[in-house]
Structures are given as structure tokens and as C-alpha cells.
Symmetry: C2
Subunit: 412 residues, 2 copies
Amino acid sequence: MTTIVRPETIRRQNRSTVLAALRADGQMSRTKISQITGLSAATVTAITADLISANVLISLTDADHTPSPRGRPRVVLGFNPEFACIGVIALQLNKISVSIRDYQGASIAEDTTNILTRELSGDQLLSALSSLFEKAMSDVTCQPLMHIAVGVQGTTDVTDKELLWSPITREMNVPIAEHFTKLFGVTASAHNDCNMIACALRYNEPEIYHSDFAAILLSHGIGMGLYQNGHLVKGKYSSASEFGHMVHIPDGALCRCGRHGCIEAYAGDYAIIRRATCEDGQSSPIDDIRYELLDQVLQNAGENDADALAAYQEAGEAIGAGLASLYALIDPFPVAFIGSGTRAHTLMDDAINKAVGSSQFNLPSIDTSFRYYLEETPLITTGCAITALKVIDENIRTSLLLEKNRSLQSVG
Amino acid sequence: MTTIVRPETIRRQNRSTVLAALRADGQMSRTKISQITGLSAATVTAITADLISANVLISLTDADHTPSPRGRPRVVLGFNPEFACIGVIALQLNKISVSIRDYQGASIAEDTTNILTRELSGDQLLSALSSLFEKAMSDVTCQPLMHIAVGVQGTTDVTDKELLWSPITREMNVPIAEHFTKLFGVTASAHNDCNMIACALRYNEPEIYHSDFAAILLSHGIGMGLYQNGHLVKGKYSSASEFGHMVHIPDGALCRCGRHGCIEAYAGDYAIIRRATCEDGQSSPIDDIRYELLDQVLQNAGENDADALAAYQEAGEAIGAGLASLYALIDPFPVAFIGSGTRAHTLMDDAINKAVGSSQFNLPSIDTSFRYYLEETPLITTGCAITALKVIDENIRTSLLLEKNRSLQSVG
DNA sequence: CTATTTATTTTGAGGCTCGAATTAAAGACC
DNA sequence: GGTCTTTAATTCGAGCCTCAAAATAAATAG
């Protein structure tokens, strides 16, 4: 059954529309908000007045002056940077990055540390996260902290609270959100890193990545963030969209997850090293990142070493076959490849393209382009920031009504 | 940007909620509608009054009398069977089934014919469809025809208008909806048969098949209808969710689609026959259904014939690997297998279960049960009927406002 | 025949958006 | 400098919609 609609639901929904429009562009005049959302000028005035009196939005005086040579100058509205700040944490294998941002999304404080994450217990890992975070927060005084978003390699639960499984730790079911909520008294959330990358790409380049696309992370493991129909694909129970664990070769090479024949068991860094060094596909995957080995494989491939080339070819075939299956399921879409694995993309492109093959139909103008992004960490951080800001925007949507009533009471 | 909401949008939305609630149960008192939807009694009165004056709903006097021993008896409302009728067509290989239903969904007229569909041109196929349909319609006089829904093996476009590709005809891009709209002056739609099966299962057994499940058709080809998050999964361009054409064995057996290694090339009827008769996996798939051959294979398997058993085992492995990949993408879900292929399910179950393997996580209470349904045609027909009725319900949602204004004008 | 019970309908208050009219705040022009 | 023009934003009244509370309807119980 669909949710029913009440008169006050209208305002909530339209407030949300206004905030989303602003979040996409950063700042806008009331008139432009009206044009973009389709709401009447009168309604935009009412909604923005609410938001301004709640300190969410402010008039930006330092706006551009060129556009309209005559008439009353437009007043550009934007998010009040002092309304809130958010915490953003990227948790990767042996590396933790923290960033504090204001409500406009600008960075206030940052810090990064290297630590052997797989050596830590779940509690130790959480402590490491929160102490680095606390250190960064010590620089911040003026804005109240409102949300903490953690992007992490691995699978989180569908409610974005818990790390169910991750290659960066031996521990399962690490209660990330609960830990931060207890410690700092604000809501927190844990997200799959690739989902955050996809979110960031959509924010940075909406003209390319909008309703249907995938972000595939090529690093020690293989991850994917998938947008379908304008929405991030999550599972019923977990963050899911585990592209790397789709079956490539039944009973094939041993995967880090313990099963056999996963795409990752051919395309992950460890798999490429394993294949290039002629190890048996059934030998145990190495847990730690061995950049020097991978660099060696890449260099060998450049010198036409047969095993190194075969390793990349087989990796490409695995990725290509996985994409072909996905294309069968939900039609072709553009793909962004992210991470250190993209350094070798020219060695895999042919195999990927061959495996993807041609679609059954001659549909017009399907974008199946591939693009490459070397650095994943800034994308994870941006994605977490956008996600955290939207959590706050969402809270404003539902709660502002109460604030308004309260102020009315105090006035009346 | 999300769509904005206006006051009249509320009524539309809530009207839709009421119609959906009624469509699920068939009939209900106003009080029960209020309970189920959460709308107040006053609002339900207003909305149902609109719908009754528009002849969409009627009071059903013949309702059950037991429930409330005292008090004013409830008035049960239901769809007015004479408000409209719909056309439903199931188009399968060499078989066309037509059914006319009233607005309650009850069958008024039916007909079925066998015809060699692959021998027909696109135009001939359309003529065959519409002449059988016209014959069935000749029995109907009292209700106006409002929509025709066609369920068809193959891929349709995402707007449900056109048959892009189908195993039942050599023609591509057959404009089914356009043909019927021209001929009968009503809207029409074309849907993938497995999507209709999934829709029917969801209608018939909502307690099992609700937000996340799949219907997999095992017949000459392998198709799937997939619900995720309560919505039917479609592609960006096509009806998609082509489970049968996910890659099972890269460069493997030849598929009907011309590519190699698809799941269907191992699990479709033709593939099972091919394997059981020891033909090369690269030999051309047979186009027509050969029941006698398939019966023979099934019988041989029962007598422990090694090739027949291997054929079913490999089919099970293909289906299982596909499911494992899907489970990696969107978490495990219950599956309904439909069609003649289910006769052999005991021969495939072990292989399917082994290939699916165990999930990475110990998530509580995930329903991954398999259920079997031999007959697909009644499910396709039911699904089309529900779909067509919902098209009408949707039209009512958006258009009733106009009617009301008109009557107000004539009154005032 | 009256009291009780349950189902609907009616009524009035309050929220929301919108179009039209109004006010605000510039530059253009003489 | 004082109007005219232009564009932005606000105010106001009309029209929808939902809801809670009160009123009405239609049975059974006693």
C-alpha cells in the first residue's frame, strides 16, 4: 500500500524538492528555484522563509552580478555553513581518512593515518576511527556536529548501521553507527565504499552519471556501486551489489570470500598477482596489499611477459562477462572504473569489450562508455559528505514543522 | 528532481491508494478501507463518493453477513463489473490465448488457437492476434473496452508498446500496442510473459511473493520476472531482466540468441535435448518445441540414463550459478519456477542448491525457498489482467478530476 | 420500544499551493 | 534628479484537501 498524503505532507515534500535543487547547484535565487522545481514564486517564498528563519539557508551577498542588467537584483540563497558540520570517514585497508565539513560541504579539518587494520579487533578498529575523528573535531568550534558518515570497503547492512563483513578486518558485524552515536550523540551511518563513489560521481558529473550507471572499483577486491532508475541499488538485507562475487567460472579460482570462481578471484589485485606469478588458482589469496608485486606485474606486462599479459586478459574477461550478465539483466549502462587497477586498463579493454559483446537489439543511443578514475579516496569522501548532508536535509524536511509551531507559540 | 505536490495531487494519490487496496482484496467496506489505508473515515467517504458517482465502484449487496452481530451493517464496496472490460492476450510459441474480462477481473469470453507463429510475418501475426480477439469480443456487448494487455515471450520495450525481439517470430520490432490502438481505439500494452507471471504470483500469493522475489520460466527458453523492493525490475530501454542470457560459461554452448555460454544454452528445453542426445554444444538450437523428444529425455533420466541425467545436472548448474550471481547483486530471495521444465525439478534441485552455495553472511530469516508451478498460461493471463486493470485504475486516478468539474458546471 | 453498538456522513478548522495584484529595487533615459 | 521600465519577491484571497468531532443511520439486545 502506498503511503497516504496529508496537507502537511505537501509542504514536507516540496521543502525536500527545494533543498535537493539547492544541494545540486549549491546556491540559487528564489526565482531560479521556482523555475527549476516548477513551484510558484509564492510557494518558494514561503518555503525559503521557513528555512531562513530556521537558520538552514542564508542570503549570499557575494553572488555574481553580471546576469541581469536591469530590474530588481535577485537574492541568491545558499546553505548556511554555520548551521551544522558533518563528519566523514573513509575506512580502507590499512588507511583511515577523516574530514570535517560545514553545511555547504566545504572542508574544515582533515586528517589521515595508516594503521594495519587487519591486526585490530573490532573494538580497536572503532577506537582508532573515533580517536582520529575526535582529533580532527578539536579544531571545530562554531558548528554543531549533526551526522557522521563512514564509507568502508565491505558489506554493510541495508539500514546503513553496521559493517557486516569487510576485507579490512577479521571481525564481522562491527556496529559502526552505534559506536559513533554513543560517543558523539549524533546519528551516524556506514556505507559501502563503492556506493559512495557512485554517489560522488553522480554529484560531480550529473550529465554523464545520472539515472543508470555503475562505478566499479578495481583494487585488492572488486566492488561496485550501481544506480538504476536514479536510485542506488541496495539489497533487501545488505548494501549488496557485490559485482566482484558474481560467478564467473563455476568451481573456478579460489576467492577471498571462500567460494570459487568469483569475478574478484580473477580481477582483484591478489588474483592478478597470483595468475602472473603462475601460482595455482586454488592457492590462498594474499590478504595484504603488495604494491611492489603489482607494479612488477604491470611492468612485466609492458615488456610483453606472457603470464602478466594473461593475468590482465583473464581479469578483463571476468569483468567483461560480469558486465555482459548485468547488461542482460538491466540493459547496458555507462561504467566508471576507479582505483589503482585502472592503471592497467589498456591491457584489459580488449578482453572486456569482447566479453561484453554486442547487445541483442539495435537500440538507439545507448551510452556504454567506460571512464577511468585513478584515485578512489577523494570520491569516497565526497560521496560520504553528500550522503551525510542529505541525511541532515532529510531531517529538516520532517522536523521543521515542529520548530515552526514552537516559535509560533512563543510569538502568540 | 522530485515531482512537486499540489493540493489536488493529494486526492489523486489517495484515490490511487484506495483503488489499490480494493484491487488487492476485491471488495471492502468503507471502514475497512479506512483501517487499511490509514485515511480518515471522512476522506474515504469523500473519495468513494467520487468513484461511485463516476460508476467506477458500486455497493455490493450480496456481501457476507456474519462479522458484526450488532450495529449498523457495513456496506461493502467493489468494482462495478460493467464499468469496463479489458482484453488479455497470451502470445506464446505456436499458441495464442485470448480472454475478455470485466472490471472486476472475471472472465467474460475466452478463446485459444494454435498457429505456427514462426511461419508468420509481423503483420500476419498481428492480424492473427486481432482477429482472434475480435471474435472473442463479439460476445461482449455491455461493457466498453478500455485496455488490451498482451503478454508475450520475448523482450518488449520499456514503455510496453513494442515487441523488440521474440523467439516466437523472426520479425523484430513488432508494434503490438500501436496495432491494437489503431484497430480498437483503446490503449494497449505489450509485456514480457515472465513479468506477467511474476505479477500474477504477487497477486495470488502476496504473503510469499511480495517485495523481493523472482519467477523463472523453464520452457523452450529461460525467462525471468523479478520484483525488487516491491517493484518489477525493468531495464532502461527494454523489459530486460533476461536471466536466461546471463553468461554462464564464457565461450560455452551456442545460445538461440547467437551468443555463447548463456544460461539458456544449458537450461532451455532445446539445450537439454541437445545435451541428452549427445549433440555438440555448438550445434544450432532447434526452433520448434519437440515435446516428444523432451518426454523421452525425462523418461531416460528416470531410468538413470547418464546423458539425460547429465543434461539436467548441467541445466541445474547453470540456473544455480545464475541465481548465485543474482544473490550477490541483490541478496537472496524466494524463487518460483514455472512451466513444463518444472516436471524435472527433482533432477535439478541438487545441482541448483550446490551452485547457489551458502551466502557470505548469517542473516536471519532469509526466504530462499523454491516453489514450482507447472502451467504458465493461466499465470500469464492473470498477470495481464491485473496489469490492464491497473492501467484503467491509473487513468481514473488522473482523469476523474475533470469529470467532477464537468458535473459541477452542469449543476451550477 | 429504548439503549447500545457500529458504520457513515456532515461540518468546521487548518494547511497548502496558486494566480493576480502589489511592493521592492535596481538600471535606462531625458 | 526625476520618471519609466524591468525583474524579483511578497502579499492576499480562492480553491483543494484531510482530519477530528459531532451528527446521523441502521442494526441488534433486552
